[in-house]
Amino acid sequence: MLHILARVLHVTSVAPNVYVLAFHAPDLAAAVRPGQFVNILTGDSLQPLLRRPFSVYRTEGDAVEVIFQRVGKGTAALSLAQPGGFLDIIGPLGAGFHLDDPRYQTAVLIGGGLGVAPLPIATAALQKAGKRVVTLLGARTAGQLVETHLENVHVATDDGTRGLHGTVVDLAAQYLPVGAHEDARLFGCGPTPMLRALAEFARTRALECEVSLEGQMACGIGICQGCPVELTGQLRTYALMCKDGPVFNTRDIVI
């Protein structure tokens, strides 16, 4: 866990309202694993008060990239970050995907909307590990798809403007017919309803599935107890999204 002032390299719009932010952070780039996140201070005064968490999108040499959608005050401020300026960042945080398990061959990466965020860094690691990678992307509409730095991409759009007319879980159902893919493992990221559907899909197909969750955080480092994730089994026992997650095996949690 590092606390750094990282120099902004660039902020680039890659789709309407979607930006890739790159910053210079050699130690972070060396340490981060796929599925981990960084917690960025988006304003220098107190507006917004808390840091904002973002999955690491890619590393490229000494640079670390995140991809984000402008939804509110924090992301609006980030979208205006100036190259050469500095950002106050804590990371890498959380536990990432378990990509290197020898018990599977094909990694099916599934991203809904900005859930694409951790997939490029995961792809790079999977390629290194010699796994086969298939990527299923979903978006509301074709223009919102961000497909770079991925492998074997299949797409679905809610409005049918590209690929399958439907959700990315529908696409997974199509891509993974019953019983056909025991050696496959699912890695998903996206909005909670999508992850819920994905978990259900994985359960019915008896596939292992890890998902990266989103939700409210205050500290991001395990000291506030603000980010409970309900565990299956006993009622109301919780893991911490920021420390124990944000990636969980869907078997272990109530989404």
Binding site: H3, P48, L50, A218, G220, I223, Q225, P228
Partner: protein, 314 residues
């Protein structure tokens, strides 16, 4: 060199800035990011007799200049604290204040007894912002007699500093401070969070699973400062100021208003080294002002020329 240390009932604190309960874990979580030994002390997350899972999500909402939380006292329980955390804290050069929460007076006593027996905690801070299960969930801290009663029972069981942490959700906090002082409390911590609430208008649901929660952060600083000022003028035991402190200047305001020491809470979430920065910034400021002891600031607010309360705001 500016003198920063102080004592409460004989226990030594390196400087006047502590990490507030619930905002710094058990003190051993972020040693990567901050040298906790540069803090005046660490107040632990509230400890209950049994571990508590806490409330369902969402537990956190950001508000203008502040945040709401309804953690629900999620904690590992006093036994695991003693077994796992105390040994690590003992290895550090840091004053440890164990914060205790409970849903009955007996539970307060039981937790304290276990900590006394284990040793290692230098002082106790008692969180009375807890529902009294026997009294139908009435908050201990909003009932003066109950607050005094807890103090009396605990005072009989320890010679270590006993610090009562008061809730601001009462009409006159100084009444409570005097009551616990009369029962032998060594200090009071002022304030815990204000009751607040936020709603998601799209879903029409509260943004906290518990509907209401506790408001903290810069937004509450003016309220906390007024409560500290009120309290410090009506008791002779030390007042520990808490509420929205993020900068050295914030802390100095509390000293001037009468706080002997301060705690940094929500600011730790933004920067886990916030407390250390506040402590060191205070010392630097004192140097530039030619002040050789931070303690010389305490209660030195100049209210001359202040008009009487009768003429006051309406």
């Amino acid at each position: 060199m500016v003198r920063t240390e102080f004592h409460i009932a004989g226990v030594h604190f390196k400087n006047r800035v502590l990490a507030a309960s619930g905002t710094f874990g058990y003190g051993d979580e972020c040693t990567d990011l901050v040298d906790v030994q540069r803090l005046g002390g660490i107040v632990t997350k509230s400890l209950s007799l049994k571990p508590r899972d806490g409330n369902p999500p969402p537990r956190i909402v950001e508000t203008s200049g502040g945040m709401l939380n309804s953690i629900g006292l999620a904690n590992i329980g006093v036994h695991r604290f003693i077994a796992e955390k105390l040994p690590r804290l003992r290895a550090l050069d840091i004053t440890v204040v164990a914060n205790i929460a409970a849903s009955s007076v007996d539970e307060y006593c039981a937790v304290l007894d276990l900590l006394e027996e284990a040793g290692g905690a230098h002082a106790y801070e008692i969180n009375v912002s807890c529902p009294n299960v026997k009294e139908g969930g009435l908050n201990f801290g909003t009932d003066c007699a109950m607050t005094a009663g807890i103090t009396r029972r605990l005072r009989a069981r320890t010679r270590k500093p006993l610090i009562l942490k008061l809730t601001p959700n009462v009409a006159q906090i100084s009444t409570f401070a005097r009551a616990v002082q009369d029962e032998g409390a060594d200090a009071v911590s002022v304030i815990n969070t204000l009751i607040g609430m936020a709603i998601d208008i799209r879903t029409r649901k509260p943004l906290l699973s518990t509907v209401t929660g506790g408001l903290s952060g810069p937004a509450i600083k003016p309220v906390a400062l007024a409560k500290v000022y009120e309290t410090a003028r009506s008791v002779h035991i030390p007042v520990i100021g808490i509420g929205g402190i993020s900068t050295p200047s914030d802390a100095i305001e509390f000293f001037l208003a009468g706080a002997t020491a301060v705690q940094v809470g929500t600011a730790n979430f933004i920067d886990p080294a916030a407390g250390v920065h506040v402590a060191e910034g205070i010392a630097t400021w004192c140097t530039t002002q030619g002040i050789d002891d931070v303690g010389k600031l305490v209660g030195t607010l100049d209210t001359q020329g202040g008009v009487s309360v009768l003429e006051s705001w309406l």
